[in-house]
């Protein structure tokens, strides 16, 4: 076990996979100087500029060229910088990458990882803060991963690179500096297997990405109110671990889903709906109001799903 940051975990994952497989390469703006957040630091020195490739500011080409390169047998890791800029390449991701295998009747595959950092990050305002993971969960052909910890950012990025499906890989910008233990040696985290970070009998709290940490803190607080919350980190939204969630809710009888994304049409709705369909359990969601994210901290904070809101929602559900 080594204690490393969420960013360093991803850097190591990519380096290990690039050493293992010469067909893995990364492409995006500024990668040669370490990438916009430093998550590619040192890699061009080891792998050269053909495999850690700079790119023009051409999101459609970055993503679209990677589709072609993936169909031709390489395994591109595509850096979109902010998930917001990936909106400049939606045709390439949704009409092309996600559908090529199907519409060509299985003649090809598109093994690519599209890194789209999400989330609010120090007053970045409406065009640099979005969390649109539910969009991609709605698109057949795509895998959607949202790691919450350094260990998962290592193990899931490695799994994503080895996956033969296009993976939308959403790191949370606020987690870059987060440090934690990461297993030594080959560490792979499978998709579709949730992580139960805390057990509890009163309520199930499901979340992913940075919001998991808010929920974990809320669970601490709830414990002081003698409410034992089970906290589940979903890790991947597609596939998502229905089994773990439904089993937990069967025990607790109550489900709260919390995510940073806008509540209306967020992926919490899918989980709530499935749970209601299968168990008829009490469900409740916490997501952002349907408003863009503002610059001023007061405005930004107004759409944040907080620990206090999480605690309050659970207490109301449990009735104490």
């Amino acid at each position: 076990m080594a204690r490393i940051s969420y960013m360093e975990a991803a850097r190591q994952a990519l380096a290990e996979e690039m050493r293992r497989d010469p067909l893995v390469w990364a492409v995006g703006e500024d990668l040669g100087r370490g990438g916009v957040f430093g998550q590619y630091r040192g890699l061009v020195e080891e792998f050269g500029s053909a495999r850690i490739s700079d790119a023009p500011i051409s999101e459609a080409a970055i993503l679209g060229a990677s589709v072609g390169a993936a169909m031709m047998g390489t395994r591109p890791v595509v850096e979109m910088r902010f998930s917001d800029f990936a909106l400049c390449a939606v045709d390439e991701l949704v009409n092309q990458a996600a559908k090529a295998r199907f519409m060509f009747g299985g003649q090809t595959r598109v093994p690519m990882v599209v890194r789209e950092p999400i989330g609010m990050w120090r007053s970045s305002a409406a065009q640099h803060s979005q969390s649109l993971e539910s969009w991609y969960a709605h698109i057949p052909g795509l895998v959607v991963a949202c790691p919450a910890t350094p260990a998962d950012n290592k193990g899931m990025l490695k799994s994503a690179i080895r996956c033969d499906d296009p993976v939308v890989y959403m790191e949370h910008k606020n987690l870059w500096p987060l440090e934690d233990e990461v297993p030594d040696g080959e560490h792979l985290v499978p998709f579709g297997v949730a992580r139960t970070l805390r057990e509890g009998r009163d309520v199930t709290i499901v979340s992913w990405s940075a919001q998991v940490h808010v929920c974990a803190r809320a669970a601490e607080t709830l414990a002081q109110h003698r409410i034992e919350a089970e906290v589940i980190d979903l890790r991947t939204l597609w596939p998502w671990d229905q089994e773990t969630v439904l089993a937990s809710v069967s025990r607790t009888g109550r489900l709260l889903i919390a995510h940073e994304a806008v509540q209306v049409g967020g992926f919490g709705a899918e989980i709530a709906a499935v749970t209601a369909e299968w168990l008829g359990a009490k469900v409740r969601r916490l997501g952002a109001p349907r408003a863009p994210i503002g610059y001023a901290p007061t405005v930004e904070d107004a759409v944040r799903v907080t620990e206090a809101a999480t605690v309050a929602a659970v207490r109301e559900m449990v009735g104490r």
Binding site: L23, W25, A50, R51, S53, A55, P56, S58, A60, A61, L63, G64, A65, S66, V67, G68, A69, A70, M71, M72, G73, T74, P76, D91, E92, N95, Q96, A100, R101, F102, M103, F104, G105, G106, Q107, T108, P140, G141, L142, V143, C163, D164, D165, F191, G192, W238, P239
Partner: protein, 333 residues
Amino acid sequence: MSETPRRNIDIARLRAHHLTMCRIRALEEAALRGLGDKVVLGAIHPSIGQEAVAAGVVGALRRDDILLSTHRGHGHTLAKGASSEAMLRELFGRVGGNCGGKGGSMHIADFEVGMLGANGVVGANIVIAAGAAHAIKLKGEDKVVCCIFGDGAINRGPFLEGLNWAAVFGLPVLFVCEDNGFAATTRTASMTAGGGPAVRARAIGLPAEEVDGNDVLAVEDTAQAMIAAIRAGGGPRFLHAKTYRLTGHTGVDTAPYRPADEVAARKREEPILRAADLLRGAGVAEAEIEADRIAAEAEMSAAYDAAIAAPFPGPEAAFLDVQDVGSPALGAF
């Protein structure tokens, strides 16, 4: 344009192109028949009148070279070596179609022969082609990628992004603008500013040439020289081939937006007639020329009958080849 100065003609080569063009024509006439017979299900975009671009450009490619096409891609696909029966099966949505009946005309593809797909989104293949060439360069192979698109596509962002990408990375790709004068019902010239496709390409640093796209030998010659330069590591090239769409935009478009005499005049310059004229001029017997047409029609007629007898895929095909992880075939929906 029929006054093109006579060259020393390689008869065998021209004959082969003539046959290819006749096969494309017959395939698309069969497809149109299938539309009338309601066995072609979705939209089709015929390339009747544009066959010289397919025959000439693809004739200059090696079999292991890569081709990407457009919604109007039957000719390119057939020329690259796809089976006509598999193509008609695909258009009819049947088992044994190139895409198992799941793609149809707009997504026709045959990866076996290096044909990486038509595309339903105008211009989308330009960046995908650049990426295919990127992979070739990364792997150190000597294949060339050829991407054909229409004159309408040069107004979409990916045209700029894809050409710049190919030039910046020095990739082995030939971009071919198959200019038939129209984007659906719109005269492309009315919505395109500046000096045209080749001028735009040059401004992005690609050597570019214009060619009479109804002259199959001129197309092949120019493409051949460009492909040789590309294969030698010279980076991307751009070919602007001027032709004319003799049909409507789709199989059901009667194209009332253009005068009949314009179409009639253009019909006299269509590439199969012109190739036949050249063959005749070079002393090839009328019967031999006619034999190409007859062979092509016989092939397509047989392919039609075989395709129409093929079954539709079962509903389970809807859930196959979506994805490995979280596949709907595993009940994950």
